[in-house]
Amino acid sequence: MKTNTIKMAAILLASTALVAGCGKKKVEELPPAAEGTNYGPPPAAPIVEANPIVPGSQEDFLQQVGQFGDRILFETDRFNVDAEDQATLQRQAQWLARYPNARITVEGHADERGTRDYNLALGERRANAAKNYLTSIGVDASRIETVSYGKERPSALGSDEQAWAQNRRAVTVTIK
């Protein structure tokens, strides 16, 4: 109960961060695209042109799996995939079914409140837990790489429970 609350809070915080990040990114990217068309004829289908997302790409993956649908979170020292995580991984598997040539790396991470070597091992466990669930629902194991970053690449930078909850994660990234 308590850990669920923390986990939810972490997802909410993370979602806020992603929304803020996306808004900023769009502002930076859109103007150059507009400038590039200033001497040609107006595009026939501007709505399609404005969407730069290539089907099957990392951007497409992130859009299709939803906000923070690229990651599952874990409790301290744990690596079990709960019902919520399964729903997240199922959406990932649906995307992978749509793009049979797409391959992914699952990155396993730990929070800073663990020793370095143990956290590398823990990150391996988490990445493999996600991989094992994906293969159990039909994704070919040969399409999934795993890598552990231990506590070396935190996503949230604070030293508190909310940050740690966000950092105990397995993140799916598409391989180009």
Binding site: R116, D117, N128, E152
Partner: protein, 453 residues
């Protein structure tokens, strides 16, 4: 004339004792005098004062490392600084002390030094030989008793003058504490820069006092957990250079590295056996981490030492190479276990509150250092049977102890809450004399090597 003949007498004495064929020769330590009242147990509460005037440079000449007179002062500074940093002694000099004459080196003015007051006096000289090498004489006197207790001579290339200073400080430390030496040793560690979310981690090495610092990797890929080989010729460490965590053995002279084992699985937590012939490492296969060993020669097959479904990781050989202390969460949380070097007879030794991680066997065999996790991370020691648990530090996150070669001082790294900034610290076995080691940038994962030959 008088001074010259005296100098010749000294030099011939020293040449006799050092053996000029050796790069770094040392006399055997004098047989302990059973009547010597100054030989005391290791006790940091009883600091003693030592004066270290600049070493005399008869007929000073320039060397590639500077003028020999300047070297005489710098060597005294390093001796003084080493002894002070040990926490056992208060030192005076060379700054603030008068220059001594060559004649005084073997005939100290005890009455003068009694008036400082000091209990011990270190004097010496630096001579540049025909081959360009330095001969450094180092003498220890008990001021109260008015007698000489230790004399040593070292023959070193000028660029290694600090080693002569460390050897002299080591001899004095050993003579006065009864402990084994440790100053003339080196440390491998990870130099850290950049913000918490994008830390740059480089392999680096330095002397035990932070001098002669050198970066080995350029920081383009993350480097972690180095370990000096017992002969200092190579370093085991983890690198993400190919995108995955893998252990490499880096040859310092050749500047080349190779994988310790050809495997697509991640390998981490590398350790040397005390004889340098075996490498211990951890490898995750399908998410499950176990401990393996392999010949350091690079041709041999890995031997799997643990089989539990839990995380078995790290490991540290006992000094005789017959046992391994390691970490496992097979009981449900990280705890310390001991096994025979072939993997047999695995048994848990930590039963206190909290989790226990990163065990390291003391070079003296008597203790195991570890990280205790109970909210905060603290560095502690216990006997190899798990008894006598003792915490030495108290901070937010102190991690990964490594032993000084004499088993009396422990280094570890401290992480700051929030910023994630790291620094290297050391503390002695009594938990006192905690101090930060100077590093050019942030530092973590220190690994202390043995005393240099």
């Amino acid at each position: 004339m008088t001074s010259f003949s005296f100098y010749r007498k000294l030099a011939s004495f020293l040449l006799l004792i050092v053996g000029s064929h050796s790069v770094m020769a040392q006399t055997p330590p004098p047989a302990p005098d059973t009547d010597e009242p100054e030989l005391v147990e290791f006790d940091t509460s009883k600091t003693r004062s030592i004066a270290v005037p600049a070493l005399v440079a008869p007929a000073p000449v320039d060397t590639p490392a500077g003028n020999s007179a300047a070297l005489g002062r710098q060597i005294a500074e390093v001796i003084s600084s080493n002894l002070r940093a040990s926490g056992v002694f208060e030192t005076q000099g060379p700054n603030g002390l008068r220059a001594i004459s060559l004649g005084e080196v073997t005939a100290p003015q005890f009455d003068y030094w009694k008036g400082r007051p000091v209990e011990q006096l270190v004097q010496g000289f630096v001579r540049v030989g025909g081959d360009g090498n330095l001969t450094v004489g180092c003498y220890l006197y008990d001021v109260g008793f008015g007698n000489e207790t230790t004399r040593l001579g070292f023959n070193v290339p000028p660029r290694e003058w600090r080693r002569a200073a460390h050897k002299c400080a080591d001899a004095i430390y050993s003579r006065l504490t009864g402990e084994l030496p440790f100053f003339d040793s080196r440390i491998a560690y990870i130099a850290e820069t950049g913000p918490k979310g994008k830390r740059v981690k480089r392999l680096a090495i330095m002397d035990s006092d932070g001098a002669n610092h050198r970066f080995i990797t350029n920081g383009q890929s993350t480097a972690l957990t180095p370990r000096f080989s017992p002969n200092y010729k190579s370093i085991l460490y983890l690198s993400y250079v190919d995108g995955n965590p893998r252990i490499y053995v880096y040859d310092i002279d050749a500047g080349r590295q190779r994988l310790i084992t050809q495997s697509r699985n991640p390998t981490f937590a590398p350790r040397w056996s005390p004889d340098g012939k075996t490498i211990l490492y951890s490898m995750a296969v399908a998410g499950n981490t176990d401990i393996y060993k392999i010949s350091a020669s690079g041709d041999g097959t890995p031997v799997k030492l643990t089989t539990s479904p839990g995380i078995d990781v790290g490991g540290s050989f006992s000094p005789d190479g017959r046992q391994i202390v390691f970490e496992s969460d097979r009981s449900g949380s990280q705890q310390i276990y001991v096994m025979n070097a072939d993997g047999s007879n695995q048994r848990r030794i930590s039963f206190g509150s909290g989790r226990y991680a990163t065990p390291e066997w003391s070079p003296r065999a008597d203790l195991i250092a570890y990280t205790r996790i109970a909210g905060d991370f603290r560095v502690g020691t216990m006997r190899p049977d798990g008894s006598g648990e003792r915490l030495l530090t108290d901070s937010w996150q102190d991690e990964a102890p490594t032993w000084a070669p004499n088993g009396r001082v422990i280094q570890f790294f401290r992480t700051a809450k929030g910023s994630g900034k790291t620094s290297i610290w050391q503390v002695d076995l009594t938990g006192s004399n905690e101090r930060q080691l100077p590093t050019p940038v942030d530092g973590s994962d220190p690994a202390w090597g043995p005393v240099l030959p």
